[in-house]
Amino acid sequence: MSRRPPIYVTGMGIVSSAGHDPASTLEALMRGRPLTAPSRHVETRLKTLPVGEVDMDNATMARLLGVESPVTHLRTALLGLWAARQAVDSASDSRGRTAFINGTTVGGMDNTERHFPVIYLDSTLAGDPRQMSYNDCGVVTRLIARHLDHKPHMLMTPSTACSSGANAIATGARLLQAGVVDTVVAGGAEALSRYHLNGFETLRILDRGTCRPFAADRAGINLGEGAAYLVMTTRRPSTRPLAVLEGWGNACDAYHQTATSAEAEGPVRAIRRALDMAGLTLDDISYINMHGTGTPLNDSSELTALSRLTTGTLPPYSSTKMYTGHTTSAAGAIEAVISILALNHDMMPGNAGTPGGDTQLVTRPVTGVRLNHVLSNSFGFGGNDTALVFSRQ
């Protein structure tokens, strides 16, 4: 096979509870204080659970973005549009045929769950039945695309639960190398909803307090919301690219619909594939941004996966989910941006609130260390596991 052209990251955007752009996100990571707090915008009985919520209501966000209905009803689309515009505006180079690849699973659910009781259960059609047609994930992608200045030529919506954002980025890179498009805007968007807050609650995996990934007494997830995108191209940009995506790997745990296997077969294969493609071993990795949700099962099987991939000590690692919450379909993209911020600022975010035990677990923000290669893990329901390797350029 011929040599694969490199994938340059030339722009990025991010919106989460940790910040409304890359600069404020970096600041929050440097400060290193957990940011999850009870929700103000979701109508739910689960009000006391900490979440990573973007501190702005839909109307304010729509005004800020200068958009009108129907996109204003869909929080996922608003968050996505905000981050996608940042990414496109910051890119030094975004010409040619463009694909917009947007991972989401909640899609229009926050809107659907408001209208569903009136329209379906009361069947009076007293509500606005048109709202039901905004439920699909692909509609959210299309509504974001409609409001971008440069219209994408192709839309794709991966929906692989909590690895959707990472799969969007990996697919984008593959399509660039196949020559299908010239520029890719790829990432993910997800709003908090009553639906998935309650869904995760039925699985009994939500922490009542701030999540503590990798702590011995960790007790689960804080959900979150947000969006993030990368702009990628195979053409060498005129200015220094933010990073190079050197490897990606997608594999399936094929074990259980919602739980990861103890031997972590899916994560091992995904990470190994990404490292192989990058021509690296785990020992070459300077820092790992972990999936690290805070559930007892995920965190231990993620560490098992890593220990299966090296005979030496693990690279320094941390989870950043106490700043953003677990933003599910957006998580892979949000953490890709965090990984690139780490590379560009020689900084490793701290896994706040967790007492040190493992010497390789970074518990406080560390600056002034040169990072060359960063691994970012994303594991999802359905055993959909994806790993990305970003390198300094």
Partner: protein, 386 residues
């Protein structure tokens, strides 16, 4: 894109909400938790895999425009009626869009590539584009690709009021096995284009000059019939067929397929006897056939599609060609030219309903199934333009 070498080896599907049995494939305890969408997906995926002769694909890619709607509605209903109290986890767990891809992976023990695409009316084309770029990059050689969507009561209620840009996806179950290597009777994918906004379809049609053009919002059923050789009975066909979808949302897709018909110059079997009294046929496989040299080198196996065709042929000799449909077929053992003599026996199970049993010369049952011999109504016209 124009895939370097990508073939659809088999296709199996249905476009209604009937629920096929998954007995013998999944344990009853598991099957009870599965919704109709998942059962249809599993049944037809296993069918397509059996026909292709590939039991362990390198990866699984699923298209779903709407996701697991029945489970979503169940969880939404509970959420509302029970006011967020005492909810059951199963509808939530099964409501994520990647449920079908994930359950298929668990069933097949497939740790390879796994993805789910949710792109309204272009979901299937997007999944095929993902498959093509994956195979071209060398990351996979064989893939199970499908579209699985359900038309629920909620969808029915909302459809007439839908946003003008919306695509309302009907019940779709389509499973296909793709490979980088051709096999007799396979359909080659020559071009895939998925897009948004102004399209270049007219230019592509001019360049490709397909012998047939099919247009419509959902062409999955026509694709399945084209792949299985039942869409067009014109003997000059098939050469190439273009499947064109333009949606009000601005999304569009273009697929150019070419069905490779096995050459009649290399017969694989001959019918050596027909018993119209006891309804059965005797078959002899030609061990020297070219087919067995390629399928597979050093390990000759009769392709599932070929056995299916043989059964259709024999049933046609009994009840008239064209009125026979193989409804189900379970492959129990590989058929090899080492045991060239086969017996195909039909046994009545009701009006126009027959059991079929295929045994080899050792007496081993190699396949079992059901056929439907209901005379077909006059064919109605497709949305076909040529």
């Amino acid at each position: 894109m124009k895939p370097q070498s990508l073939y659809i080896l088999s296709a199996s599907g249905q476009w209604d909400n009937a629920v096929p049995s998954v007995r013998g494939i999944v344990a009853p305890a598991q099957s009870r938790r599965m919704g109709a969408l998942l059962k249809r997906a599993i049944h037809h995926s296993m069918q397509a895999l059996a026909t292709s002769g590939i039991g362990d694909p390198d990866g699984i890619i699923t298209a779903t425009a709407r996701g697991s709607m029945a489970d979503t509605e169940r969880f939404l209903t509970q959420l509302h009626l029970q006011q967020e109290e005492g909810l059951q986890p199963t509808p939530f767990m099964h409501s994520t869009h990647n449920t079908v891809s994930s359950q298929l992976a668990i069933l097949l023990g497939c740790h390879g590539y796994n993805a789910t695409w949710s792109d309204e009316g272009t979901s299937l084309a997007t999944a095929l584009l993902d498959a093509a770029s994956l195979v071209d990059s060398g990351e996979a050689d064989t893939l199970l690709v499908g579209q699985h969507d359900e038309f629920t009561p909620w969808t029915r209620l909302a459809a007439p009021h839908a946003d003008a840009d919306s695509d309302i996806t009907p019940d779709i179950t389509l499973a296909m096995v793709l490979s980088s290597r051709p096999a007799p009777g396979a359909t080659r994918i020559l071009r895939i284009d998925v897009g948004y906004g102004p399209d270049g379809i007219d230019g592509m049609l001019q360049e490709d000059a397909p012998s047939r053009i099919y247009k419509g919002h959902d062409l999955s059923a026509q694709m399945e019939r084209y792949i299985n050789g039942t869409l067009d009975t014109d003997p000059a066909l098939p050469a190439t067929a273009a499947f064109v979808s333009r949606h009000p949302s601005g999304r569009y897709s273009y697929l150019l397929l070419s069905r490779q018909v096995p050459k009649p110059a290399m017969p694989v079997y001959e019918v050596t006897g027909v018993d119209t009294v006891n309804a059965g046929c005797a078959i002899r496989l030609d061990a020297d056939s070219e087919l067995f040299k390629v399928h597979f080198p050093g390990n000759p196996i009769l392709p599932g599609a070929m056995l299916l065709q043989t059964i259709s042929h024999c049933a046609g000799l009994q009840w008239g060609a064209g009125d026979v449909k193989v409804k189900t077929l379970r492959f129990l053992q590989p058929v090899t030219p080492a045991h060239p003599y086969l017996t195909i026996a039909f046994q009545s199970a009701g009006p126009h309903d027959h059991r079929v049993t295929v045994s080899d010369c050792r007496g081993a049952v190699v396949a079992k199934g059901r056929i439907d011999t209901t005379p077909l109504p006059q064919p109605c016209s497709d949305s076909t333009q040529s």
